[in-house]
Symmetry: C2
Subunit: 221 residues, 2 copies
DNA sequence: GGGATTTTGTTCTCGCGTTCACAAACTTCT
DNA sequence: AGAAGTTTGTGAACGCGAGAACAAAATCCC
C-alpha cells in the first residue's frame, strides 16, 4: 500500500499538507471573490489561519507557482491546487442513510461547489423511498451496486446509525467503492485497498469540554 | 496561555491523546453494552481502531487504571476517562443557525448522550422564530446574551453560512462564550482566551478525492 | 544598468508523537 | 509455595512536522 517505486511521480505530498490544501483552496476562492488577483504568502496564510512559513513549505511540494518579490497569482494558484487535489474533475458520490444528517449533507452546497455530485440517495427504510431530497430521489439501499456501476462511483458517504454502518460499508466495498466518508460513530473494518475517513460530530465538542473543564479547575479564580 | 506553573496538576495530557479519548469512550460504551466487563488493551485498541501500545500510553497519562495480567475493568475505565474529559457533568450548549445542518445537529442524539444539553436554538431569520426543533423552540439571535447568562453557557456551535459566522463568533465571545465549534467554512478570528474547533464537511471528502486521483494516476492498469 | 527591496523556496533544527521492547506485577496451574 | 504465562505501564529510539532563518530571484527606483 504505502510502498512507492521510484518511477512514480517524484512529489510525495505529506499527509499533513494534503489535509491543509482544501483550506488553502477555500481561502483562495474567498480572496478571488473579493477581487484580489495577487497575494503574498503572508496574506494567504492569514486568510487560511496558518503560519506563512508552513504555507510556503506546503505549496513547495506542489511546485513553484509563486513569483519571488511578488507573490502568488490567486486564480493560477487556485487552479494548480485544485488540479492536484482532483477538484477539477467531477466526483460522483452516493449518500447512504437519509436521516437528519443525510438530509443536511444532501443539501450541503459545499459538496457541489467542490466538484462532488450526489448521484444517489439511498436508505434501507421503505417509507423514505420516492421522497425527493435536494432534487434527488431516495432509492432502496439494494440499488447500490447498480448505481455504482452505472455512474462509476468511487466515493461513498455513510450517514446511517452506528448499528448499520459496518453492513453498509461492506456492501459499498463489494460494489466497488474504494473511498468511504463515515459519519456514523463507529469504527469500520475494511480491506486494504479501501480508504476510510471519519467525521465525529461530538468528538470535537468533547475536546472543547475537556479544555473548558481544565480552565475551570486550573484557575479557581 | 500555554505556560504552566509547577504547582498545577502534574499530569499534562498531550493534545493528540485528548483527541483520542472520546474514541476510547465510545469504544468502551459499545463493549459495555455488549456485556463485556473486562478487556485487554489489545481488545480495546481493536475496538477503537488504534495500536495497542498507543492506547496504553494514552491511558497512562490519566493514571494506572488497569491490572497487569488481567486488563481493564470496562465500566471503571469508562468512568475515569469520562471524569477526566468532563463528560460526567452537564454542558449547556447553544446552536446558532438552524438550517439543514443546524437541524441535524439539534436532533443529533450523540450530543445528549455525551453530556451536552442544547439549551437554545438561535437564528437571525424572523420566519424561523417559534418553530420547534428537537423539542426546543427557535429564538432570535439577539437573545444570545440573555441565554448565555441564564444557563451559564460556555460552549457555542455555529452552523450558519460562512458570511455570518464571524459576526456570530464575535457576539458569542462578547456574551461570555469561551469555546466555539464552527461548522461554517470560514476561518474565525477570536481573542486569546477563546478556543475554536472547526469541522469542515467537504474537507475530508476532498482528501479522499485526492487519494482516489493518486491511485488512478499511479497505476494506469 | 545597478543597487535596494520584497518575497519566495529551501535548509536546518527542535519538539512532539508513534512505536518497539521490556521490566514489573498480577493470575493460574501444579 | 513456586514456576509459567499474561498483560500493563514505561523507557528509549525513531520519524515526521513545525517554525526559524537564510539564500535565490524577481521588481522597483534612480
Amino acid at each position: 500500500m504505502t510502498a512507492r517505486t521510484s518511477h512514480e511521480t517524484a512529489r510525495e505530498i505529506p499527509e499533513a499538507t494534503v489535509a491543509r490544501l482544501p483550506v488553502y483552496l477555500r481561502a483562495l476562492s474567498t480572496l478571488s471573490e473579493g477581487g484580489t488577483t495577487v497575494c503574498s504568502s503572508e496574506d494567504l496564510a492569514a486568510a487560511a489561519g496558518v503560519n506563512s512559513a508552513k504555507l510556503r513549505k506546503d505549496l513547495s511540494y506542489l511546485g513553484s507557482y509563486g513569483t519571488r518579490g511578488v507573490g502568488y497569482d490567486v486564480d493560477y494558484l487556485r487552479y494548480q491546487i485544485a488540479r492536484e487535489m482532483g477538484a477539477t474533475r467531477d466526483w460522483p458520490v452516493v449518500i447512504v442513510g437519509i436521516g437528519n444528517l443525510g438530509h443536511a449533507l444532501a443539501n450541503y452546497s459545499g459538496f457541489r461547489s467542490r466538484g462532488f455530485r450526489v448521484v444517489a440517495l439511498l436508505d434501507a427504510d421503505d417509507r423514505r423511498h420516492g421522497e425527493v431530497v435536494a432534487g434527488v430521489v431516495v432509492r432502496p439501499f439494494t440499488d447500490l451496486r447498480a448505481i455504482v456501476h452505472e455512474h462509476g462511483v468511487a466515493i461513498g458517504v455513510i450517514a446511517t446509525p452506528a448499528a448499520a454502518a459496518q453492513d453498509v460499508a461492506d456492501t459499498m466495498v463489494g460494489a466497488g467503492i474504494t473511498s468511504i466518508l463515515n459519519f456514523a460513530p463507529t469504527v469500520l473494518n475494511v480491506g486494504l485497498g479501501v480508504a476510510v475517513s471519519k467525521v465525529d460530530l461530538s468528538k470535537e465538542l468533547q475536546v472543547l469540554a475537556y479544555h473548558e473543564q481544565r480552565k475551570a479547575t486550573a484557575e479557581p479564580a
